[in-house]
């Protein structure tokens, strides 16, 4: 037999050629993740500690406050580090909820077809018919705000994309045969979906997650910027920009630091996501 396909377990597996900007983006993501994980250790001050002697100190003026202080004398660097942690926590939590929810609904639609499928597609239409920001604002208006609610709410963002992908791929897996073949062996649907179909579509789902993740960061920071997301005394990136904006004329650094982090992080994740998509799954839109 002629072996056309390279073995996936070939020992001399070379690293794929990664463009420099993707490398840079991955480096930034790693750095931000590290900061979020080590937030407790590396924050020089408590993010709520006020130092009224040092109010609105500009960056690079003192060693103790390298990124300056805000209107209450709180250390911008410390607040930034904690904000990164909170924003990433929300984005990760929401992305995972959304992926799990969407994939489950997609599988249910593919498995049961008929009414269940129509209902899921209808819900997806509904989701697509409303700009998510408006939907989120309405829910927040009705339910008030808390961190779990915010994560749950963000977790509704983008589920319909996973649902569409999971449904389509599961249907084609059944039509293609391996799902039918395993069902025919007597396997329960949970085994067919979790042990066979899910690993087969995982790469597509992961690519979708990297595409949804930056959008969740933007959404959360937008809500927090409007004062309707993360509530003080807790802080997030959008929240910092929102409060910093009042001091834009006197102390622009308060909002510039978190703005830069937001832009760099969304940029980095979407660069990596685009690259992954081109590598793994060029069929995704």
């Amino acid at each position: 037999m002629i072996d056309i396909y390279p073995s996936t377990e070939a020992p001399a597996r070379r690293l794929p050629q990664i463009p420099w900007f993707v490398m840079l983006a991955m480096g930034w993501i790693g750095f931000v993740l590290l900061v979020a994980l080590l937030a407790d250790v590396i924050t020089p001050f408590s993010y709520t500690a006020m130092d009224l002697k040092y109010r609105l100190v500009a960056p690079f003026q003192t060693f103790s406050h390298p990124l300056g202080t805000d209107e209450l004398g709180r250390d911008v660097l410390s607040r930034l580090i904690v904000s990164i942690r909170i924003s990433l926590l929300i984005a990760f939590g929401a992305t995972i909820i959304s992926a799990v929810l969407g994939t489950t609904l997609g599988f249910l639609a593919a498995h049961f077809r008929g009414f269940v499928e129509q209902a899921v597609l209808m819900l997806a239409d509904f989701q697509a018919a409303l700009p998510f920001l408006i939907l989120a604002l309405s829910v927040l208006a009705f339910f008030g705000n808390s961190l779990p609610l915010l994560i749950g709410l963000m977790g509704l963002y983008g589920w319909e994309r996973y649902a569409r992908i999971a449904r389509g791929l599961a249907i084609s897996a059944s039509a293609q045969g391996y799902a039918t073949a395993i069902t025919q062996l007597g396997a329960r649907p949970t085994r067919v979906y979790l042990r066979h179909i899910l690993p087969n579509i995982a790469s597509t789902l992961i690519v979708s997650m990297t595409l949804v993740f930056p959008e969740v960061i933007l959404l959360e920071s937008g809500l927090s910027f409007l004062g309707l997301g993360v509530q003080p005394p807790m802080t997030s990136l959008g929240n910092m920009v929102g409060y910093g904006r009042d001091y834009i004329t006197r102390a622009a650094w308060i909002m510039l630091a978190p703005s830069t982090v937001i832009v760099l992080t969304t940029l980095a994740v979407s660069l990596v996501g685009d690259w992954l998509r081109d590598k793994l799954d060029p069929t995704l839109g």
Binding site: F126, L130, I134, F142, L226, G238, S259, T266
Partner: protein, 310 residues
């Protein structure tokens, strides 16, 4: 074709019904509006009177039907804060919002589509790469950061333009640029990939192989086909004319629907929030419906009923 339109209209109606149901369910789940509005220490007879006047003493399904009936009559409730009909409050704000979003839409279309088409036709050139890089940045920079950056530059540092309010035409400039720039980048990127996709198709190669001049191939074959997916995105942009400016209006203190929404959410003025929600959904569904009809015009396969609803 008639069946296609009927199916789409049916779907639109169902979507609207879903949104109304959603608003109702969320409203009911969010707790007792009487205690929310009057406060937990309100006297019991005041709460009872409030419930009666809002119909909250009826069974849930009666309230649900009443709710539908009221919405069909155009009765969207009264602002719980200042007592005026929510619908009037929202309508007052629409001209201000459109004053931002319509010019911004023009800007997006005028910049985004030509840039995308040109980039696709000159793939790999410096222009193409510039468009792509701008598009990626346009996605990564949230509108409030862009807005504040523009304020910092043009209002604070240079002092050329006002930073907020709605007194002169100049006040609209920064918000329009903010809205238009981000959208133009996204539209350019989308148009480019739609165009590239079409240019890779066999019929384009056939058309140019049979000796048709390239300009004619692009005009006669590539553009009409690339227009089909682009129309969907434009439809979405049109659909978000009413509520696409929530963040930007807030940054620039622009008295539009978006700012009204943010204030209403902060004050938990449910009638106003719900009115905006329904209005936005209706606009979105209507523009999706128009897009579907346009599809019928642009895509002959649909016109002849060859494609089942997907």
């Amino acid at each position: 074709m008639i069946r296609f339109i009927l199916t789409r209209v049916l779907r639109a109606v169902i979507t609207i019904a879903l949104v109304v149901t959603f608003a109702f369910v969320v409203l009911r789940l969010s707790g007792d509006p009487a205690t929310i509005i009057l406060g937990p220490e309100a006297p019991p007879d005041a709460i009872a009177a409030f419930r009666k006047s809002w119909g909250l003493d009826q069974p849930v399904w009666v309230q649900y039907l009443d709710y539908f009936a009221a919405i069909f009559r155009g009765d969207l409730g009264v602002s719980m804060r200042d007592g005026r009909p929510a619908f009037d409050l929202v309508m007052e704000r629409i001209p201000a919002t459109l004053a931002l979003t319509l010019p911004a839409l023009m800007l997006k279309l005028a910049l985004g589509i030509p840039a995308g088409v040109y980039a696709a036709l000159h793939q790999g050139t410096a222009f193409d790469r510039t468009v792509m890089v701008t598009a990626v940045f346009g996605f990564a920079i949230p509108s409030f950061v862009l807005a504040l950056g523009l304020v910092l530059l043009f209002a604070v540092t240079l002092g050329w333009l006002p930073s907020g309010g709605r007194d002169t035409v100049w006040h609209a400039l920064l918000p329009i640029i903010t809205l238009g720039a981000g959208g133009a980048a996204a539209l350019a990127r989308f148009t480019r990939s739609a165009m590239l996709e079409v240019l890779g198709r066999p019929y384009i190669r056939t058309a140019s192989a049979k000796g048709l001049p390239w300009a004619a191939v692009v005009r006669g074959h590539a553009l009409p086909n690339a227009a089909i997916p682009t129309v969907t995105l434009v439809g979405f942009l049109v659909g978000s004319l009413i509520a696409g400016a929530v963040v930007v209006e807030s940054v620039f203190s622009w008295p539009g629907v978006g700012r009204l929404l943010v204030v209403a959410v902060a004050n938990r003025d449910l009638a106003v929030v719900q009115c905006i929600l329904l209005l936005v959904a209706a606009t979105m569904v209507a523009s999706n419906l128009i897009v579907d009809f346009l599809y019928g015009v642009l895509d002959p396969r649909l016109r002849h009923g060859a494609v089942a609803d997907a």
